[in-house]
């Protein structure tokens, strides 16, 4: 299978263009800037600690709520407006379609995340941050977000109704988030297994400043699963 970068980028550009041409994109950006800014101001400036951990730890839950808004339309909208027909009958592979859309969301997320660079700058100018843990914090935050988006993209391929996609994405992410809490209530291998599935438990180490390869692999697997099943669902629509 060969992938054409040109076509993937064309699709990505289309998605990016959408986010900056629609109220949804700006609402998401505004919500993200406001909440992260608030936490940064209240906690970091209050505690005088040169760390981004409180910002990340407290806003990762915000991503859980913003993700469905970002990803719900990715495929649902194409199906609804009839443009899926254009993509299906163009010389595009399904991986090109899925990767193009995913890349578009990733670029949009990069814009979101750029706001945190301002906070970083404040920390660097006024304190002496520990770069190692800071990198781990960022890595964890990015991996969680990218996993959310991949799963959201997958859910979007399931329905041509954006609202259905949005609610289903919420449910899926919430389940993956709280499954660890149920694991805590149980003992033995079942509890451990449930905890290992939980996004919440997997992010913990990153925010302690530790990069554990198993956690990295956990998130990379989530991303791959999301993208892989998106391709599979699109494939099944052609039969």
């Amino acid at each position: 299978m060969s992938l054409s970068w040109n076509k993937i980028w064309a699709l990505a550009k289309k998605e990016i263009g959408y986010y900056f041409a629609s109220p949804v994109g700006y609402l998401v950006l505004a919500a993200f800037f406001f909440v992260t800014g608030l936490f940064f101001a209240l906690i970091v400036l209050g505690s005088r600690a040169a760390s981004m951990v409180p910002v990340f730890q407290n806003t990762v839950i915000l991503l859980l709520f913003l993700t469905p808004g970002i990803t719900m339309r990715l495929w649902s909208e194409e199906e609804k407006s009839g443009t899926a027909e254009l993509l299906r009958t163009s010389p595009l592979t399904l991986w090109e379609i899925v990767l193009g859309k995913y890349l578009g969301v990733c670029v949009f997320f990069a814009v979101m995340l750029s706001a945190t660079l301002v906070y970083l700058l404040v920390i660097v100018l006024n304190g002496n941050p520990d770069w190692g843990p800071l990198f781990a914090n960022y890595l964890g935050y990015v991996l969680v977000s990218l996993s959310f988006f991949a799963l959201g993209l997958f859910v979007s391929t399931l329905s041509d109704n954006q609202m259905v996609s949005m609610v289903l994405t919420w449910v899926l992410l919430l389940v993956l988030w709280i499954v660890g809490a149920t694991g805590n209530l149980m003992t033995g291998p079942v509890g451990d297994f449930l905890k290992s599935l939980s996004i919440y438990d997997q992010t913990d180490d990153f925010f302690k400043g530790v990069i554990d390869l198993t956690h990295v692999l956990y998130f990379l697997s989530l991303i791959f699963i999301g993208l892989f099943f998106s391709v599979k669902v699109l494939e099944s629509k052609r039969s």
Binding site: S4, N6, K7, W9, A10, L11, K13, K14, G17, Y18, A21, S22, S81, G82, T83, A84, E85, L86, L87, R88, T89, S90, P91, L92, T93, R238, S239
Partner: protein
């Protein structure tokens, strides 16, 4: 160029297309005609690789739609039932996007977009959001998208839908002008569209082909071009008898009386010029007056209704 052989497409227990076969020679325009729900769109979706066939063999530009779908996609332009447009994009950025996914080389992109905008008369609105354009414009944007990569085969699902009469004529002219260079299938349930643009016609009804022929042959085959309508001023019964005796007339059917003592008849004849002369002479000889003598051509409309209702009755 396009070969469809025993194509079957089912949706669960419902058979949308049932063993249809037809072929489109290179450079010709085929009209796919049928009432709503006859299976036109399903057939087109199979031809464009959007939907795999349940059974049968379909090749487009020499490539199989199931095994070589990607190659088929490179050779077709497709205007689906609903124009595949992004409402939040400007026309120009939309066409750039289509050019990219349709593999138009970067250096030819701008020229080609300019050409197509010119051809479909969209240059004026190229900077506007597609969502702000009228229905007729959106349909033309859909057509621009299908033509952009200059494909050998064009598959157009109701290309003139939503257009006003002037635009319909322009688009038909455009399609007609592409004949010879491109192989085209267009679907419609508007009959004049077929007679004015297509070389051949395939009529489908409830998933089956009920007729396939050239446009002229089809209407001729059903009427034979041998039915004449005659209006004569004279005593009705006597005229009827005299006409029946004319050379080449096999049957006379009175159609009723007109004012001023004229009567109308429908004559079945052998279709020759001599017969028409004989009828004229017969009327003159009896000192009646001939008001009208004209062939009754069955319009495509009548052919269509006849074919599709015949099927329904069986």
């Amino acid at each position: 160029m396009i070969e469809v052989k025993d194509l079957v497409r089912t949706y669960g227990p419902f058979t949308a297309v049932d063993k249809i076969s037809f072929s489109v020679p290179k450079g010709t325009i085929l009209g796919l005609l049928g009432p709503n729900g006859a299976g036109k769109t399903t057939s087109m979706r199979v031809l464009t690789t959007s939907l795999p066939p349940s059974a049968g063999k379909v090749t487009v530009a020499g490539y199989d739609v199931t095994d070589q779908a990607q190659e088929v996609r490179r050779h077709i332009g497709y205007l689906p039932e609903i124009p595949p447009i992004y409402h939040d994009m400007t026309l120009i950025s939309y066409l750039k996007f289509v050019a990219d996914i349709r593999e138009i080389p970067q250096d030819k992109k701008a020229d080609r977009i300019g050409e197509v905008l010119e051809m479909i008369d969209l240059t004026d609105v190229s900077k506007r959001l597609i969502g702000h354009l009228s229905l007729g414009y959106r349909q033309r944007v859909g057509l621009a998208q299908a033509l952009l990569h200059d494909p050998e085969v064009l598959i157009l699902d109701e290309p003139t839908r939503g257009l006003d009469p002037k635009q319909i004529l322009e688009i038909r002219k455009l399609i007609k002008s592409l004949s010879g260079r491109k192989t085209i299938i267009l679907s419609t349930h508007i009959l004049p569209e077929v007679s004015s643009t297509c070389d051949n016609v395939v009529i489908i009804d409830r998933g089956k082909v009920v007729a396939a022929d050239s446009v002229e042959n089809l209407s001729q085959r059903l009427t034979g071009g041998k039915t004449l309508e005659v209006q004569v001023k004279g005593p009705g019964a006597e005229v009827e008898r005299a006409l029946a005796k004319c050379e080449g007339v096999s049957a006379v059917r009175p159609l009723g009386k007109e004012s001023k003592g004229a009567s109308r008849f429908e004559l079945s004849t052998d279709g020759s010029d001599e017969t028409r002369e004989a009828i004229f002479q017969c009327v003159v000889k009896n000192k009646w007056a001939l008001y009208q003598l004209s062939p009754v051509g069955m319009s495509l409309e009548e052919v269509f209704v006849k074919l599709t209702t015949k099927e329904g009755a069986s």
